[in-house]
Amino acid sequence: MAQDHSADAVAVAAAECQHLAATSPPTNPKTTWEGCSVLLDINDGDRLVFARLSPAATLKIGNKKCSLGPLLGCPFGSLFRVGNGPGEPCLSRCSHSTSGASDNALQAIEEESIAEDSRDNRLLIDNNTAQNLSSDDIDAMRRNGATGDEIVEALISNSATFKKKTVYSQEKYKRKKQKKYAPKVLLRKPSARSICETYFKKFPARIGFLRVDTLSLLLSMANVGVHSDVLVVDMIGGMVTGAVAERLGGTGYICSTYFGVTPYPSDIIRMFNFNSEVYSRIVHVPVSDLSKSLDDFVHSEISAKAPSMLPESAECRNSMDISEVPIQNFDLIKEKSLNNEQTSVMSDVGESQHVASILCPSGANDLELGHDTPITDKLVNKGRQAPLETMKQWKTNGFSGLIVAAPEAEVGTIVHKLLPLLAYSAPFAIYHQYLQPLAACMHNLQTSKLAISLQISEPWLREYQVLPSRTHPLMQMSSFGGYILSGIRIRNSVPSSI
């Protein structure tokens, strides 16, 4: 490609890079801080909880309430175990090797000659008499300060059938007991991947059944990268908007557009721990404004009311003014949620009412999935608006990519209205949960010749268990992650030859 940088342009680029580095917190924070959003992984993915860390935050594990205070200032990826000592159960940090007693057992298995293991389960009878220890015995052990591991060892030695099991069966038994009596909590950093996976596991309907591999495809197909101007229709709680913002890393813009007068809810964006640089790139603009001609739009901007800042108390909710939402409102949410009960485990909009666990794969039907509490409404009501200069640029040059995630909406109309807003040669990716509307949309695009390279794809994802002599795909699989219609917008008219 032609390298026609002027000296000025290079200087601008360098300055912007420096600015990015100096003013924003590290792109990749490695340790937690007060107020940060985290993902807690309990017992290797059995239970996933979003939380906001503060000294007062707590988490319920089993029937114990543990303080999340010990998690502050720790690196992401740290492992914690629930202590069994007298008094308040608490989370203490441990290394992965001590909790991975199973790892040593695995190595022992390799040393053993598997072929000579003649044990099987023909003599095992399931009549609940194998275990000698009663639950009272176990409680007594707990009160005497026995660690989780010690309890597990005691259970094993008191099991009449343990020795008769195969090595693998013993391993499985031990793991199961560990999960109950010595649960572990893994502190994970929220990212597009982990947030999407968690939602897909717990509340898939909230993100329109968008699986993590499907989300990844949308980002690649729409060529989301540095300095991109991405047009997004996000009706799945902000999942796509957040993922795009993560990839843009404080450059370019995400124009989250909406039909009607109110932006769609985007609570999920809060979970990403974005710094102000990244947040500033997310803007909300109604389709009606985008579709206006440049002159009409400028005219209406001039005659609009003057911009006003939202008051700290965030009382005004339904203001139709062009106003900016200050980033400080995130502290407001934290304070508000602390006032709800003692816990500020704000895993989700619905879950701030209870801290009950949602065990997979039973799904999330226990709680009222109230989608919009007053707290989130205040924040996302009007959203940040795009600067006038940027709007002008979008209208003259077009967006560099389009992503639509409106799994229950009428895609045909959406695409018809938004495709003309793309630059020529800009790619688009339309996600939908139903195939037929996408097929109809693709057919229309083919006949109208607005786009080429059209394709409907269905992503397929399968996970494997890889263990010595026990490698196979997992027994459970997600067979549905949605469909994507992708293509590239083109300029159909042929210019007169020079």
Binding site: K189, V226, Y424, P495
Partner: protein
């Protein structure tokens, strides 16, 4: 390919200049990369195209040949590049590439180590993901392929983001200078377990590794070695199933003499209008979709792991 200069935003807003790389789209399965040079021609089944005619047109334009045939000129993106690049080795495709980048949690500013470079398919997407402030250090033990990859990256304007070196990662590991500096590491090697001890030293705390292996035996061996020092070990397969759409006249009329299971009509010949059958009756058509008959069955297994916190 990427707009690294904020004042210029996306390359899509530029018009085609002399010396630019253009992606020529003839058909969904016929795409080529062409370097625009004044005075030269591009020839294909549709005729001869004068490259000078392309200069000054916006990307996304339709251009005609001397015989009236047409093609589309597209701006290069990492996705299109994967489809047109010259295969010096087997490459990774969209489904694997997009999943790897998401799962490795590559964001702007990251430092990524990769081996082997191969034909640079994944590397190009990694460059986009780390831009503008990150970097991809990629290693290949084959000197000639490393050179060809380096030339490709330069031609695509990615040299400020990608550094190619010749090194045998399986034998020597990654260079010491990257110890504790890598956010993510990607391996596409015949014996990745040999490189794992080095990866352990390279990764930052909670950093992510991905190893791509076509064979399950390789995966098993790698996973066994990963149990020391790594956690959250997961292995996946990703594939894409594509659909074809057609406009079908579904009828049970006896007057319909066509065989019910006819050959697939090419998309270009579909008409949106109602079709008259031989009896003069009008039967409505419906747009239907069904999976393509052939698809890729396997590329490789993707094994991910995080460096365990000490």
């Amino acid at each position: 390919m990427l707009s690294l200069d904020p004042s210029k935003r996306s390359s899509l807003q530029r018009c085609i200049c002399d010396g630019d790389l253009v992606i020529v789209y003839e058909r969904h399965d016929r795409i080529k990369a062409v370097k625009v040079q004044k005075g030269l021609d591009f020839q294909n089944r549709f005729g001869v195209f004068k490259l000078s005619d392309w200069i000054g047109q916006p990307f996304g334009s339709k251009v005609l040949s001397n015989k009236g045939g047409f093609i589309y000129l597209l701006a290069p993106t990492p996705e299109l590049w994967t489809l047109v690049l010259s295969h010096r080795t087997q490459i990774l495709y969209l489904a694997d590439i997009s999943f790897v980048i998401s799962y490795l949690e590559v964001v702007p500013g990251c430092l990524v180590l990769e081996s082997g470079t191969g034909s640079g398919s994944l590397t190009t997407s990694l460059a986009r993901a780390v831009a503008p402030s990150g970097h991809v250090y990629t290693f290949d033990f084959h000197a000639q392929r490393a050179t060809l990859a380096r030339e490709d990256f330069e031609r695509n304007g990615l040299s400020s983001l990608v550094t190619v070196s010749v090194r045998d990662i399986q034998g020597e590991g990654f260079p010491e200078e990257f110890c504790g500096a890598a956010d993510s590491v990607f391996l596409d090697l015949p014996q990745p377990w040999l490189a794992l001890p080095s990866v352990r030293k390279m990764l930052k705390q909670d950093g992510v590794l991905c190893s791509f292996s076509p064979c399950i035996e390789q995966v098993q061996h790698s996973c066994e070695v990963l149990t020391s020092g790594f956690t959250d070990i997961r292995t996946f397969e990703v594939l894409l199933r594509t659909y074809e759409i057609r406009e079908e006249r579904m009828t049970t009329s006896e007057a319909d003499h066509e065989s019910p299971v006819g050959p697939m009509r090419k998309k270009r010949h579909c008409t949106p209008h109602d079709v008259d059958d031989s009896q003069g009756e009008r039967t409505a058509t419906t747009v239907t979709a069904r999976p393509c008959q052939e698809s890729r069955g396997h590329t490789g297994y993707l094994t991910f792991a995080r460096l365990a916190c000490s």
